[in-house]
């Protein structure tokens, strides 16, 4: 992982700036010291190098020209959306060109007959949702990462973002039907499209989640779903984590597929309460938010079944929202958690791992132990239906050694997830954060197989260089040449 680097890079040559400006226009190239410096940051706890320059293209053609220019200059480049990624994926690992897609933010087409939209990558997730809602299309774009008010669809595609509704509806990948991609050499290709199941490999699925290392996505065909006629939200409080986890298994075993199943532990409940005053009773040791959606008729029966299952698993209190406002209030308990945490700590590390659903409570218990051993605080949120845990670890980065301790704890957490039959990322991706942990999950041949595809598309490792794969694989490459 790259530590904070002093800005010892020289100013970009005027010739390069002029050529960039010739492509994207004068106001759309950033190259002051301050600008270059801030692009060495993103929402992660990591730091990259300052950018050599930042270009903001307005079209696919401009992206392709930028990529070709970078190639001809022997310069690497990285795509960037809103920079809310937490794996450090958009951070420059060398002196390179940042291509920020925020100007390409047009919603190009809404196609209700095919239940699709066509958007540019810089469209903000929530803007697309609001657009669909305001125009009364009767459809929604479902993926809803916690960062949806700022993160871009392009960045969501880059990291294959998740959210609260993955149990029933899947992650970003399940909602993408096609892409236009500028490949690392500057060629523009289209994969997938409005027509499902084209013959041949599912290249769309392959590009989604490749974290900008195989090309730059310049257009996205995404699925939209008709709004459910009824959404019923419940909040169930349990004496401890175990009983909540048993209720989760019970709900699934009963053949009920909730749209969302979110879990909070006692510590997160306390923090949330302090921030937004939900009024959790003292007896509650964990909280489960259950959202069911679909055709009205069957739904009320399922809500009743969920209530029975929670009661059978010792729930101390169960609320069912009768109005949308009441549902919002229940959701506030979950959505406010990160902000509540931010009030008490200058920096928060958001861990992300998956275990089989039935081992979630055990995993959270062990996460708490791992952090306690290191003298760290931790609060736990989880997409319980997906077995996706998010321990949030607050720390003060001004205390020397503190960040390293957090990173060590995170490593142990991921090793635990793999040992329990899970994986090292649920939705945040690998970036620079987990590139070494890839070896926990994959053997050398598996890594080689993936890496060979990276090199097939990007032989010189110019497109978001030195990401995803263990650093040693790139070092070997430099020794032997591409």
């Amino acid at each position: 992982m790259t530590a904070l680097q002093p800005d010892n890079t020289s100013d970009p040559p005027a010739r390069l700036i002029a050529r960039l400006e010739a492509i994207v226009g004068r106001g759309n190239v950033l190259h002051s010291k301050a600008d270059r410096f801030v692009y060495g940051y993103d929402a992660s706890v990591f730091r990259g190098r300052p950018a050599k320059a930042v270009a903001l293209p307005g079209s696919t053609g401009e992206v392709a020209e930028l990529v070709r220019l970078a190639n001809s200059e022997g310069l690497a480049f990285v795509a960037r959306g809103a920079g809310t990624g937490i794996n450090g994926g958009a951070l420059p690992q060398e002196d390179l060109l940042v291509i920020e897609l925020s100007r390409m933010n047009r919603i190009l087409e809404v196609d209700p007959d095919n239940r699709l939209v066509v958007v540019e990558p810089g469209v903000v997730n929530q803007d697309l949702k609001l657009f669909l809602a305001k125009r009364g299309f009767g459809f929604s774009y479902v993926p809803d990462p916690g960062s949806q008010v700022v993160s871009t669809i392009g960045g969501n595609v880059g990291n294959n973002a998740g959210g609260m509704h993955c149990l029933k509806y899947g992650v970003t990948s399940n909602h993408i039907a096609g892409l236009e991609v500028v490949l690392p050499g500057g060629e523009i290709i289209e994969v997938g499209g409005k027509t499902p199941d084209r013959p041949g490999m599912d290249l769309t699925g392959f590009f989604v989640g490749s974290e900008g290392t195989l090309g730059i996505v310049t257009r996205i065909i995404a699925r939209i779903l008709p709004l459910p006629e009824a959404v019923l939200t419940q909040l169930a409080l349990f004496p401890d984590l175990d009983s909540a986890a048993r209720a989760v298994s019970g709900i699934m075993a009963a053949g009920i597929l909730p749209a969302a199943l979110e879990l909070l532990d006692r510590r997160s409940m306390t923090l949330v309460d302090r921030a937004v005053h939900i009024g959790f009773p003292d007896a509650a040791g964990s909280a489960l938010i259950i959202e069911l959606d679909g055709v009205r008729e069957g739904l009320e029966i399922e809500v009743g079944r969920v209530r029975e299952i929670c009661t059978a698993n010792d729930a101390v209190e169960i609320q069912t929202a009768e109005t949308p406002e009441a549902a919002d209030r229940i959701w506030l308990a979950r959505r406010a958690a990160y902000g509540a945490m931010a009030r008490i700590s200058p920096t928060i590390y958001i861990a992300d791992g998956c275990v089989p659903r039935n081992r979630l409570s055990e995993a959270i218990g062990r996460a708490i132990e791992i952090c306690a051993r290191k003298g760290l605080e931790v609060i736990n949120l989880a997409h319980a239906g997906d077995g996706n845990l998010h321990p949030l670890i607050p720390y003060d980065q001004t205390i020397p050694g503190e960040k390293e301790k957090v990173i060590e704890a995170a490593r142990e957490l991921l090793a635990m997830c793999v040992e329990m039959g899970g994986t090292i990322t649920g939705e945040h991706g690998i970036g620079v954060e987990k590139q070494e942990e890839m070896t926990l999950l994959f053997n050398g041949r598996e890594l080689d197989a993936m890496f060979s595809l990276k090199l097939a598309f990007d032989p010189a490792d110019r497109c978001n260089p030195r990401k995803i794969f263990p650093v040693a694989m790139f070092d070997r490459l430099q020794l032997s040449g591409p």
Binding site: R115, G200, L203, S249, V295, I430, F469
Partner: protein
């Protein structure tokens, strides 16, 4: 010594005598477009598959992988065909994780066998019909349309992880057992639709669903494919949650009526909507659907609670077609299904009624032409010309047409894939890394394998 004898002994040293077949009957059974392999390898372990591939890679032998064989006709004649790998003995269910709703099965397990395992716990693999003899490996590599995709998604949405034998690198695994399972590149997706050209899938993990309380189908007769398709769109885009929406041409509807009382006997365009769920929800949806049908000028038939195997086969065009039939798999955007069917009616030979079924949400149309098995030159030219016109029309509508089956004389005249979509070069690049000597399905997918030049 003939080639069979030469290849038999190294094969036997890898798999044992009972893992290798060289009888004329076995070889003929695995012939493709008149070409027989020299040996049929029938490994009973994943490692065995990997060993055979490693050997084939070393010696540059051409390999074609066989699942149930239901879609083996896809693709051109192999340019080299030494070894057929049959997955019939790779038929173990590795794990049914009841609590986490996942099933891990070897590639040769059929949907029927999977269903027998999961039904005991009231769970199902929703990737295909539960009675199907298709193998899970074949399902993935042919990317078969899932009948109830509106509710359960397609193969890409249900597949969580794979183990695959690669030519050079041997056995590797990607994805996993958890719902969010991708770290690094989503290699699992690449294998979907790859038709055995990247490696041999030996094991797959799928997510399972609870068996719905009830399933009900409703059929309606409509005056035209356009009306039927726009009704399908309305049903899919509103508050109802249909599991499937099929369109049947009058001829196909008649076949359906013979197999199953559902469609009624009338020779009319027919829409079949299926619903899964709780009885209360289904009752309400059937009532609403009926109202919509009547409003659209259609004639709803009595709903029925099962369509059985015979009915299902009609809906997804899985009946055995006689060898004289040419089967074209047409793909278009769902919103274009109605127009496409109307157009295809105009391309019917001799103004015969067309034989077509369409999975509306999948934009998947199966079109059957009955042809003389021993055609004269003019018949051949005429048929090839018709397919060419259909492909040109589809090109303008971002669609495609794949030749799934045809009598031999036609197959040599009609390209199995038609026009390329532009993404093939990227596919070729991927293929060149995972199967560097091109031993898997050689020559069968020239569009995929032929463009190995460097990307600009």
């Amino acid at each position: 010594m003939n080639k069979s004898a030469v290849l038999a002994s190294p094969a036997e040293s890898l798999l044992g005598a009972d893992g290798v077949h060289t009888s004329q009957a076995a070889l003929a059974q695995h012939a493709l477009d008149g070409l027989s392999p020299s040996v049929v390898a029938v490994p009973d372990t994943s490692e065995g598959v990997a060993e055979v591939l490693k050997w084939a890679h070393k010696d540059g032998l051409g390999v074609v992988v066989w699942g149930s064989g239901s879609r083996i006709g896809l693709g051109a004649r192999p340019s080299r065909y030494d070894i057929a790998i049959s997955l019939s003995r790779l038929n173990r269910i590795m794990e049914h994780d009841v609590e986490n709703l996942t099933l891990t099965a070897q590639a040769g397990v059929t949907l029927l066998e999977a269903a027998r395992t999961t039904v005991a716990h009231n769970q199902m693999l929703a990737a295909g019909w539960p009675w199907s003899r298709r193998t899970v490996g074949g399902l993935i590599s042919a990317n078969r349309p899932v009948p109830k995709r509106l509710l359960y998604g397609s193969v890409r949405d249900q597949l969580l992880g794979i183990r695959i034998a690669l030519a050079e690198k041997g056995l590797v695994g990607f994805g996993g057992k958890v719902l969010k399972n991708v770290a690094g590149y989503d290699m699992t997706k690449l294998v979907i639709g790859s038709l055995g050209s990247l490696g041999v899938i030996v094991e797959a993990t799928f997510k399972l669903f609870a068996i719905p309380h009830r399933e009900t189908y409703l059929a309606a007769a409509l005056a035209s494919p356009i009306l039927a398709a726009s009704l399908a769109t309305r049903l899919a885009n509103g508050p109802l949650r249909p599991a499937c929406l099929f369109l049947l041409s009058p001829l196909a509807a008649e076949r359906m009526a013979k197999a199953q009382k559902l469609a009624g006997a009338a020779r009319e365009w027919t829409l079949v909507a299926g619903f899964d769920g709780r009885s209360e929800a289904i009752r309400r949806q059937i009532a609403d659907a009926r109202a919509l049908i009547t409003q659209a000028g259609g004639d709803p038939r009595p709903a029925c609670d099962t369509i059985g195997e015979a009915g299902g086969r009609c809906l997804t065009a899985e009946e055995e077609s006689p060898p004289s039939v040419l089967r074209l798999r047409v793909g278009v955007a769902p919103g274009d299904v109605g127009d496409t069917l109307a157009y295809l009616e105009t391309e019917s030979p001799g103004d015969e009624p067309i034989d077509a079924v369409a999975d509306h949400p999948g934009g998947a149309i199966t079109l059957l032409f009955s042809l003389p098995e021993h055609p004269g030159e003019s018949q051949l030219t005429e048929t090839a010309g018709r397919i060419e016109r259909i492909r040109a029309w589809l090109d303008e509508h971002a669609g495609f047409a794949v030749l799934e089956q045809a009598p031999a004389p036609y197959k040599s005249r009609i390209s199995p894939w038609g026009r390329s979509s532009g993404a093939e070069r990227a596919m070729g690049l991927i293929k060149s890394r995972l199967d560097p000597k091109g031993i898997l399905a050689p020559g069968r997918f020239p569009e995929m394998n032929g463009h190995l030049g460097p990307l600009s």
